[in-house]
């Protein structure tokens, strides 16, 4: 019977070609969408590398006030640290977790340019506030104050890109021209800060003390940003008190307080919206493909009523006829999927988009499953109709 199916499909290749083309195209669309999905789900399931709960972000803006800037900031931080309910305070750059700001660049290592990486400013307290996990070396501390090169802490992804088989601590990065130097003092497991769906990409923290040059007009990313770890359950009371403490030191500076939890939700909305829109578009596309398949099958079966009647007259059971149509669809789908897989294979082979090939392989699997499920669903009803066709009716002489 399988041979018979192949013969039938081969002999009907012209009408099956259209169907196969449709399946190849839908497979391809599904593959691309699946890749995106698998990629995002994979990232989502990676550890974030830090704890955003009970962390508040305070944005300060001195406005026109430039007098004793560093002293005021230092005093503010001291006051905040001393406030009951505050566990830790750190000062960082504006690219805080879930923010819409990024800083990046590429280091050179022994004259070779490394992949682009995100950079974050951090002080000695950053690790404790964010609960980062140091896996090699140490976090910044007072010993770094005397360092001639800027101390940096990198993540495992950057370490693996730069020196996969060596120790990272002590290694020196330069800029392109070899003028500036950075020295690695530690490695953290990871820090996926931009959003829940951010890839675990290379990044570095650069130690930065209170060294703002206020003779120049502060650009927006130079505006001081503080992250505070607070006691679980802290709320409006503490927020009010923090604002009061800040105002006492820095009269006239503007202050905004947000929790990282709030920021996360805002970022999630931002990141998910295009994904959801894309998902909906793809959903419609797939629905279209499904309707197309359904239509073609329906048409096929109506065209082949006489054939069905004849087969029934020769001894095929209704179930056998239904099985034959499902089987034909299975073979045609398999052909389409094989072609589609050949096409999809080019992505990992050519390294398009630089996504891990595991993502593509999973996406292929997912797309294959979906397309088979889709054709099975589309073929089901027409096959049942075929199975129910009565031989006497379909064999009537015109």
């Amino acid at each position: 019977m399988i041979r018979h199916l192949f013969t039938l499909i081969w002999n009907r290749k012209r009408s099956n070609l259209l169907l196969i083309v449709e399946i190849v195209l839908s497979f391809f669309v599904l593959f691309v969408v699946s890749s995106l999905l698998v990629y995002n789900v994979y990232n989502y399931r990676q550890p974030m590398g830090f704890d955003y709960q009970n962390v508040w972000e305070i944005n300060l803006n001195p406005g026109a006030d430039t007098t004793a800037y560093n002293q005021k900031l230092q005093l503010t931080m001291q006051r905040l640290k001393a406030t009951k309910g505050v566990i830790g305070v750190t000062k960082t750059s504006s690219n805080t977790p879930f923010s819409f700001s990024t800083m990046n660049g590429a280091y050179s290592y022994k004259g070779k340019q490394m992949p682009y990486n995100d950079n974050f400013d951090a002080d000695d307290d950053f690790r404790d506030v964010m609960k980062l996990k140091v896996v090699e070396g140490r976090w910044f501390d007072h010993r770094d104050a005397a360092s001639t090169r800027t101390p940096i802490v990198i993540n495992t992804a950057l370490k693996n890109a730069a020196f996969p088989n060596e120790k990272a601590v002590g290694q020196i990065f330069t800029d392109e021209k070899g003028e500036k130097e950075w020295q690695v003092v530690g490695v953290i497991a990871g820090y996926r800060a931009a959003s829940d769906f951010t890839e675990d990409a290379p990044l570095s923290f650069r130690r930065r003390a209170l060294d703002y040059d206020m003779t120049k007009k502060a650009s927006s990313y130079e505006l001081p940003v503080l992250l505070l770890r607070v006691q679980p359950g802290s709320g409006a009371m503490l927020e009010k008190q923090l604002i009061k403490e800040i105002s006492n030191v820095t009269k006239g500076w503007s202050v905004t307080v947000n929790s990282l939890e709030q920021n996360r939700v805002a970022k999630l909305k931002f990141v998910l919206t295009p994904l959801i829109v894309l998902g909906l578009v793809c959903g419609f596309l797939i629905l279209n493909v499904a309707l197309g398949l359904f239509g073609v099958l329906w048409y096929n079966i109506n065209q082949r009523k006489a054939e069905i009647g004849l087969r029934r007259a020769l001894g095929a059971t209704g179930a056998g006829i239904g099985g034959q149509f499902l089987g034909e669809m299975l073979v045609v789908t398999t052909l389409g999927v094989v072609l589609g897989l050949g096409l999809a294979m080019q992505f990992p082979l050519l390294g398009v988009f630089g996504v891990a090939s595991g993502v593509y392989l999973q996406a292929m699997l997912l797309a294959t499953l979906i397309i088979f499920a889709l054709t099975a669903i589309c073929a089901w009803q027409p096959s049942r109709i075929a199975a129910g066709i009565q031989p006497a009716v379909s064999l009537r002489e015109e």
Binding site: L8, R312, G318, R396, E397
Partner: protein, 244 residues
């Protein structure tokens, strides 16, 4: 209904099986087609017995129920009333699977417009009934199909497709298909209706040979008086009833 006129040949094969029940027996068979607007009585209390090895022709004006009769005997359709017996066993309330099995084992069909599958080669078409028979392997299928095509003189055309054949050749393929299953009964619905007289003659000879040499029971609907006279027995139909 009355017994029908016969053209007694020298020795009627049926007499040999006098004690055996008739191969096909219809008792008060009724078929009513119900459509939204009208009710058509296609068969009106038909009583008929056909013995093993008989060659019966059925004649009657168009629309009198001849095709309906064949489709009921061939288990393609159910009567709305009456009793059909094959080999003395009533065919009633059979499951879809059992009916399919009976059609496959017992009955071969030949239609006026051949009903070949255009997407299959001559050989594949002829193999078709064996495809639905359990226990027949690919090799045996092929052999039997070749043998059947040999009998109808088409062994040189096995790889052709129906569209590449003349009407007479197509009908011979259809007969080969019926032969390949080695049925006990062949039901032929105006098998020569679409053919010119020379080709019709050829087909008729084939059926006669089959009946004579293999003892296949044949029920044939025809419009051709001349052909009908060649068969052992002629049944005339008028408006759903058997006459004479």
């Amino acid at each position: 209904m009355n017994a029908t006129t016969t053209q007694p040949h020298s020795a009627s094969p049926s007499s040999t099986f006098a004690t055996a029940p008739p191969m096909i027996k219809l008792t008060d068979i009724e078929k009513v087609y119900q459509t939204k607007t009208i009710e058509t009585v296609a068969l009106n209390r038909v009583n008929l017995s056909i013995n093993k090895g008989e060659f019966v022709s059925v004649m009657g004006p168009s629309g009198c129920g001849k095709s309906t009769l064949l489709s009921i005997i061939g288990l393609l359709d159910e009567p709305t009333g009456g009793l059909l017996e094959l080999d003395g066993r009533p065919v009633k309330s059979y499951s879809d699977k059992e009916l399919a099995h009976l059609r496959n084992q017992k009955i071969g069909f030949v239609f006026q417009s051949y009903h070949l599958i255009n997407d299959l080669s001559v050989l594949d078409n002829v193999e078709l009934p064996l495809l639905y028979r359990a226990g027949v392997g690919g090799k045996e299928r092929r052999q039997r199909a070749h043998a059947a095509l040999d009998k109808v003189g088409l062994s040189a055309r096995t790889t052709h497709f129906p569209s590449q054949l003349s009407g007479g050749q197509r009908q011979r393929v259809a007969i080969a298909r019926a032969l390949a299953g080695r049925p006990e009964i062949i039901l032929a619905d105006e098998p020569t209706g679409n053919l010119d007289s020379v080709m019709g003659e050829e087909i008729m000879d084939l059926l006669l040979t089959l009946n004579r040499e293999e003892g296949t029971t044949i029920v044939m609907v025809t419009h051709d008086e001349h052909q009908a006279l060649k068969t052992e027995r002629l049944i005339r139909f008028f408006d759903g009833s058997q006459v004479q």
